[in-house]
């Protein structure tokens, strides 16, 4: 499937983003007007309000921007686990991290973590 097959009427919705993630693809949006890249697709650009958003495949290698080890988890999650903000060129995603990594370390997309709240990007 192509990236655009996950978009509806040319726009990537949460449903399409989740479907792609379950298929092992990390999708996002790039704003045609200001260039802002997001890993959390929206109906309009969060920086400039433009609706001219391209659905894009995000880079699969990035660096840890910040990270925490959660030891007190919400119901339905088994602690401990690591959650990171991962910088991918011009965008960032919040993701589950396999094992430990410090800020600045290189990590690679490894697919989707399946959770009671839906799929989450996983990096390791």
């Amino acid at each position: 499937m192509s990236v655009d097959d996950y978009a509806e009427d040319d726009r990537l919705t949460t449903g399409g983003w989740r479907d792609a993630l379950d298929d092992g693809l990390l999708l996002g949006q790039e704003c045609r007007d200001c260039g802002h890249v997001t890993g959390a697709p929206k109906a309009a650009c969060a920086r400039c309000g433009s609706r001219a958003l391209d659905t894009v495949r995000l880079p699969e290698e990035g660096t840890v921007y910040s990270v925490t080890r959660i030891e007190v988890a919400p119901e339905g999650f088994d602690a401990p686990y690591h959650v990171a903000m991962v910088a991918l060129d011009d965008g960032r995603v919040t993701a589950r991290l396999d094992g430990e990594a410090d800020i600045g370390e290189t990590v690679t997309f490894t697919g989707a973590a399946s959770t009671p709240e839906g799929p989450a990007p996983r990096f390791g």
Binding site: R18, A40, I70, V83
Partner: protein
């Protein structure tokens, strides 16, 4: 435009309560009305805060219920929900209504129960609090509310060299302040060793870096200058309120650890009050976690960027220091009943500026600031209050 004043305040002790939400709210609202000298007929509206009663206790559409419960049946009511910034947003809207001449006397307040007394344990409450994060892109990662601030704080530590010891000093300071406040959830002091030895909640935060699950209520009466003159309460002037939000989710913020919404809200509040950060004599800031206080003191301009941790460790933000922060004990020690927190900060500012804060008094304080943050470091409300007899403060 009319000037708005706080003319009456009330709050319950923060901690564990088994009362219903209306009963608990009454324990703050009735004292606030009495403090203002306001009869039911004087009050023209209720601006009410409750963030999570629907999820925690199965109670929704609470504003008219609590209005009826405290003798205000029939007045226009509205409920605000902005996560932890719930009742400061109610306060902002009440102030604007009074400033616009729409109402002369308004009751503002909030109530919440979050302790295990509600029947919800830590896992359930952690899940409910996480509902303030982005549902599609953050909750599936297992990100918790402590986790949100942990990510911001870890980045701050990386950028500025803030240490776990400095974070612990924030907890030690606020526990000390809380020991001087008989309404505080935690009334006893702690030590850096105790904080650093505690179990990890979300690295770098250990148990004592985190505020407790509290129950409580707080309320204030806001009145126009003319109405305030007709009431018997000792007025404190609302000099300015700022309100801003930042991009949600966290990862999309331009620079997450700078908490831009706090900077924007502070600029608006300072401009409205005609003051600069240097004119602030003390502040109540949103220290849900020790790292949150460090970020807040920098964003508000109370300390230089990057120096929030060092300032706390050096005692600069303690009572007796150059800019006391959270003389009440803050969320960390006083407690954090979500929907009551913002109103409780206004209660503390008012008591300090009236000279009614007893042992925790900030000497000679004329200008107080409240900073209340909600959700994914998104909603932020900053309020500046001035002592009524301060005249043209520090312009």
């Amino acid at each position: 435009m009319h000037d708005a004043h706080v003319v009456g305040v009330g709050m319950t002790p923060f901690g564990v309560h088994d009362a219903t939400l209306p009963d608990l709210f009454a324990e703050a609202a009735l004292p606030a009305l009495d403090d203002a000298g306001a009869a039911p007929d004087d009050v023209e509206a209720l601006y009410f805060g409750n963030a999570m009663g629907g999820q925690i206790e199965g109670d929704s559409h609470l504003a008219p219920t609590v209005a009826s419960h405290v003798g205000l049946a029939g007045v226009p009511c509205q409920r605000f929900e902005d996560a932890c910034a719930t009742s400061s947003n109610a306060f902002k809207n009440a102030v604007q209504a009074v400033e616009a001449g729409q109402h002369d006397v308004v009751l503002v307040g909030g109530v919440e129960r979050c302790s295990p007394e509600t029947g919800k344990g830590t896992g359930a409450m952690t899940r409910i609090f996480a509902s303030a994060a982005h549902g599609a892109y953050e909750r599936p990662t297992g990100l918790t509310f402590p986790g949100v601030f942990a990510l911001l704080t870890k980045r701050h530590m990386h950028e500025h060299g803030t240490t776990p010891e400095q974070l612990a000093e924030v907890a030690v300071k606020n526990h000390y302040h809380g020991s001087l406040n008989d309404r505080a959830h935690f009334g006893k002091e702690t030590t850096t060793e105790e904080v650093l030895d505690g179990p990890v909640v979300a690295d770098p935060f250990r148990l004592h870096d985190c505020c407790p699950f509290s129950d409580g209520a707080a309320a204030v009466v806001v009145a126009s200058e003319d109405a305030a003159a007709d009431l018997s309460g000792d007025p404190v002037r609302v000099a300015g309120v700022g309100h801003a939000t930042d991009v949600v989710p966290l990862a999309d913020k331009a620079h997450p650890s700078t908490t831009q919404a706090a900077r924007d809200a502070a600029r608006e509040a300072y401009e409205a009050a005609g003051i600069a950060a240097d004119d602030v004599d003390f502040a109540e800031v949103h220290d849900c976690f020790t790292g949150a206080e460090v970020l807040a003191t920098e964003a508000l301009g109370l300390v230089t960027d990057g120096e929030g941790g060092a300032a706390a460790a050096a005692g600069r933000t303690a009572l007796g220091g150059e800019i006391p922060v959270n003389p009440s004990g803050g969320l960390k020690a006083k407690g954090h009943p979500i929907g009551a927190t913002g109103a409780a900060q206004i209660v503390e500012l008012t008591e300090q500026l009236r000279g009614e804060a007893d042992e925790r008094s900030v000497e000679g304080a004329d200008v107080g600031l409240a900073h209340n943050l909600g959700g994914d470091a998104a909603t932020t409300v900053v309020s500046v209050l001035e002592a009524a007899d301060a005249g043209e403060v520090a312009r």
